[in-house]
Amino acid sequence: MKQLITFIKKEFHHILRDTRSMLVLIGLPIVQLLIFGFAITTEVRNANIAVLDNSKDEVTQGIITKIESSQYFDIDRSITSNDQIEKAFKSGKIKLAVIFQPNFQNELSHSNKAQLQIIADATDPNQATTLTNYLSSIVRDYQNELNRQNKLPYTINTETRMLYNPQLKGAYTSVPGVMGMILLLISAMMTSIAIVREKELGTMEILLVSPMKPWLVVISKVIPYFIISLINVATILILSVFVLGLPIEGSLFLLIASTVIYIFCALSLGILISTVTETQQAAMLISLLGLMLPVVMLSGYAFPIANMPTILQILSNLVPAKWYIIIIKNVMIKGIGIEQIWKELLILLAMTGTFLIISIKRFKIRL
């Protein structure tokens, strides 16, 4: 036990003295989360749009006020004709234009039907879709208010509800994604580098000749990174709740418990990497290429798994982050309990076990 404590102390010395790595370890998750939460997001705010009101009546004014009061659109008042709209689109000044037909209110009250045209700049299709969706829902809102007053028969309302993420916030996908990525990166890459470093420096040989048991060496390498990972989980969760405004719907205990399992999985993967590499560079390369890419591409974080070719869909099952992200989304955002995620948890545990068994086998061969 004393051996273990002495050795863990030593590991902390290594980590704390390497200020640069320390900053990366603690700072990276924060930076990542903020970038993915704020900058890289599908939600659009304050998009410049033009409104061409050919009717100028009570209803069109009502709709325009509603559009204006939303945080998504800024109306460019200088645009007053079709020609100007076209120019504004070409120069990129506006992303969307709304054109009301003449006699809008009259048409609406007499024939129960009125035309409103939405033109969007679809050079960025995702943004265009998002913007038209926002705008349609604003108009629909207004329509609902009208209908409530008039009790018009035969009006069919389509109503879309965005479940769990009513405001379509980007943070809802980025937080689970960043957690899945950061924890894997720190736990797996840093442990594998720390272990391989001892091999490279020749100190591993000294440790193997000493009465220190090899598994104790490995455990004492793993514990500091486990603690750092927990610190990261805490900062990510605090940031996402208080800065990104993401709620934790489910049980916090379940969330942390499944995160601990995921960290174990990542740590054992790091140990496995350390048994197959001899240099720190190799360990880093394998961790980056072998872990980062699949996590970003195949975990369902950046691209939906259901849309992938079958082979990639099958491969994605091997990525621990995929299962973890499913768990986090379910627990954190949907507020689902253990009865829905036990399968994913079991898969993570099975992966952890497999990594450890292979590592132990490889470790023995090496001796």
Binding site: K2, D18, L201, L207, V209, S210
Partner: protein, 249 residues
């Protein structure tokens, strides 16, 4: 040298094969307590392989060996407690201070805190490192590092200390000082098993063995070997034996 002395290392036809390649071929020798035993050989002669079997990090393919009375197959844990080891690569932690390195290795070998503290202050005073004790090892000159590494290898007073080319890259004065430390350790009853490339160092040993292509070609005191090969120096003896070597660089 007589066999009345206590034997601390005994090997009997110890062999290590890697596939078809026989790295160490039926090595048989004995080392006595308190002796400085030089283990010579050209690069690739099998020195390191043989040493790895003796310190318990490589399993022999066949043959027998006991280290400090313990069997290399079954009692590696006991062997590890009775030996010290200093490898070719500099093997202290450069980002830890001298004191931290001492405390770490003292702790690994299971010494009590009081004992570590007592020996630590003795060691710091002996090496005159009072002012450097809290500096990072990485900032020390190589010669000091080597002396410190040796001191830490015998910090837990092992029965035997294994030194794998301990003086590589060190200037002649520091080498001389290093050998003074080896003599002192040997005087205190620690058996020293040392591999080296420097033939002048071979002259300092009580007995030397010379390994060529995985086989021990000669084993005796430097004086006897020179007489036997009618040579003036160990250098000549070594050249005569190693000339026919097929392996190596």
């Amino acid at each position: 040298m007589t066999s009345e002395k206590e034997i601390v290392i005994k090997t009997d036809n110890l062999t290590k094969k890697f596939g078809d390649f026989i790295a160490a071929n039926e090595i048989t020798f004995e080392v006595f307590k308190g002796e400085i035993f030089g283990f010579l050989g050209a690069n690739g002669a099998g020195k390191t392989t043989a040493m790895k079997m003796l310190i318990g990090i490589s399993k022999p393919s066949s043959g027998k060996a006991t280290i400090a009375g313990f069997d290399v197959y079954k009692e590696t844990e006991k062997i590890k407690k009775s030996i010290g080891y200093m490898s070719q690569k500099f093997s202290l932690y450069e980002d830890l201070t001298i004191n931290e390195n001492i405390q770490l290795f003292g702790g690994i070998y299971g010494l009590s805190d009081d004992e570590i503290e007592k020996r630590r202050s003795e060691l710091i005073n002996k090496l005159n490192l009072q002012n450097e004790a809290d500096k990072l090892v990485g900032s020390l000159p190589l010669g000091w590092k080597q002396k410190l590494a040796f001191s830490i290898a015998i910090f837990h007073t092992p029965k035997i200390v294994f030194l794998d080319e301990p003086t590589g890259g060190v200037d002649p004065i520091t080498r001389r000082q290093f050998w003074d430390m080896i003599y002192e350790a040997s005087h205190n009853g620690i058996t020293v098993f040392v591999t080296t490339h420097y033939m002048d160092e071979a002259e300092y040993c009580d007995r030397v063995s010379i390994m060529v292509d995985g086989v021990i070609k000669a084993l005796d005191s430097p004086a006897e070997l020179k007489k036997q090969f009618k040579a003036n120096s160990m250098d000549e003896v070594f050249l005569m034996l190693a000339r026919d070597a097929k392996r190596g660089e």
